[in-house]
Point group: C2
Chain length 147, copies 2
């Protein structure tokens, strides 16, 4: 069994445990998210599945993404651009984003615990988590710029 397939099985188990029904559409949205190495928008998921489910509503995609978010199966990524992206890799990692083409690449780095600790001391907040995004130009766009 491949890694995405295994994650899908685990996710389905989590859904069942949470008392959430497994419908064909829900299954398909989850499967697409798990297999995608990108971080798709709701519309990208919708378009990717319209062959399989010609009658599926965009609302269904949004509804299911919300369900997955609530259970903690996916994370929502919001950047400057208009629409949210969804990341099914919930393990600790950061993102590096191309200023030119918007590509998002996962980037592993040890968690910045000392920043969280200092933030608590200085601001009095009860810190829950943090987000780090690095911006730059990806190799593809660097090549493009040379020609």
């Amino acid at each position: 069994m491949t890694v995405p397939e295994q994650r899908l099985q685990e996710a389905l188990t989590t859904l069942k445990k949470s008392g959430v029904r497994i419908t064909p559409q829900r299954h398909a949205v989850l499967e697409y998210l798990m297999q995608s190495m990108k971080h798709p928008t709701a519309d990208e998921i919708y378009k990717a599945l319209e062959d399989k489910f010609p009658n599926m509503s965009v609302a269904t995609v949004y509804n299911n993404l919300r369900v997955f978010l609530d259970i903690g199966l996916v994370r929502e990524l919001t950047y400057g651009d208009s629409s949210s992206r969804f990341d099914c890799n919930t393990s600790d990692h950061y993102h590096i984003i191309c200023d030119e083409c918007g590509k998002i690449v996962d980037f592993h780095y040890p968690s910045l615990n000392e920043v969280e600790q200092l933030a608590e001391q200085v601001t009095g907040f009860d810190v829950s988590n943090h987000r780090l995004e690095v911006y730059g130009t990806c190799e593809d766009c660097q090549q493009m710029a040379k020609h």
Copy 2:
């Protein structure tokens, strides 16, 4: 001259240098941003100025924010919630955001250069900058939760 006043003067000089006209509305938007310790949304700016400029259009606020963004006088902050916030403090700093009330507080911490460097090596990106946001519950909301 107070610090916000001084920053306003500097900003006006920058605008002139960039060949941007100083209109009363533009001046007012900039002044409000500079004096505000919060990170207002476009609508908050619009509402704050409607006494002074009863005929001002929301479009004017958006237009001017874009001008300021292009020149680098302000930064746009986009989080999960619907509308962008604007930060006229362009010095290096991070933000800590309350999960409950959405309050955004400036938080100073040395720039994470080593993260940028590692990201370049690992991903091949030409890194330009990065963003760090810490999330948690502010003191006010911690108090509220107790009662």
